[in-house]
Symmetry: C2
Subunit: 207 residues, 2 copies
């Protein structure tokens, strides 16, 4: 375990915590207080760290994602749905409020107009409704017109992302691509957006 800690840069206390929480499978016992952790453990540990530390997932959400990875019955298109569901944030919106219901309906209609083929109960539809309802409540409706810029940009981007992952062919590699692409890709995209905003703001408002 000391070697695993050294190679991964993750403390022994944290590794023990992941073992206890079932995120990391136990090593192969080689003696009373010794266990072997093959390279697979190192890889899994890095994935856990990426999900939690970079992706900002909770331990429970990371566990859900890892379970999907380990379930060979989940593959292809379904895996994406499971990954999206696992990382969906809990909302504290009252989803029976008229404002939220109206936003949810509006969002579903827009997606239909775009011709996007998505599950009518997709977690991302609720997440989108959360944000749209909040924008309206705060009187920022004018910013919602940006949806017309966002949607085609995301459609183009998603086509390339799915292509890149599908091109891998092998299930294990595709699974890792879906998970890291969704979680780390989101971190990359939001960081780039902030940098692009800074650049645009410098150009339009002076640095």
């Amino acid at each position: 375990m000391a070697e695993l800690s050294q190679r991964s840069g993750v403390s022994i206390a944290t590794i023990k915590f992941y073992l206890r929480e079932g995120l990391l499978p136990p090593g192969t016992a080689t003696g009373r207080n010794q266990a072997d952790y093959p390279d697979e453990h190192l890889r899994r540990l890095r994935l856990i760290r990426a999900l939690i530390d970079v992706g900002g997932l909770t331990v429970a959400a990371a566990k859900n994602v890892l379970q999907a990875i380990d379930d060979p019955a989940i593959y292809g298109h379904d895996l994406l749905g499971v990954a999206h569901h696992a990382i969906a944030k809990q909302s504290r919106w009252d989803r029976s409020s008229p404002q939220w219901i109206a936003a949810r309906r509006e969002v579903a209609e827009r997606i239909t107009q775009l011709g996007w083929q998505v599950h009518s109960e997709a977690a991302a539809l609720d997440q989108l409704a959360d944000a749209v309802a909040a924008m309206r409540e705060l009187g920022q409706e004018d910013l919602l017109s940006l949806l017309d810029v966002y949607a085609p940009a995301m459609e183009k981007l998603a086509q390339k992302e799915v292509e890149a992952v599908v091109a891998r062919g092998e299930r294990a590699a595709m699974v890792e691509g879906v998970v890291t692409g969704t979680v780390l890709g989101e971190a990359i995209l939001t960081a780039l957006r902030r940098l692009a905003q800074e650049h645009a703001s410098a150009g339009q408002q002076g640095p």
Copy 2:
């Protein structure tokens, strides 16, 4: 306070917590156990809820954003920097590790190549390096080629976003636009990305 709670849908306990934490200014005392909360309080409360519940900010991060909003010395381009800094996530990466330093350098070079005018210490550069370093560590380098698709898409989008906010003219409205546009806009964008991925995946892998 009961009225404020009813109009905002935020519990009295939560309102009291925000008052204690200094996120919400105290109302005007009108009697021993009575205080007046003008409409401004309702607006502020909705903004807090949007930042924390939809944007996923911590109470401390939300407080930083609100302080920037309330500081009239911060405006225009600077406000964007303050907002981005306030919402920047803590990373648990060892930022003295060779991998991270290499990723940080690579990221800065890419941004320079794009011709983007950003502060060399921008928090988003570190966030981008976090994600790029994690992608490399997990052996997902092939997905990094997507940066060439992400960057121009984000540049186009950011131009429109900054235009929409600058068009408002008045400081208070611009400030709210920067904050909600950054935080809620990110929620909208990531939700749309997941939906677009589902659509692309259905098309390429079958639903």
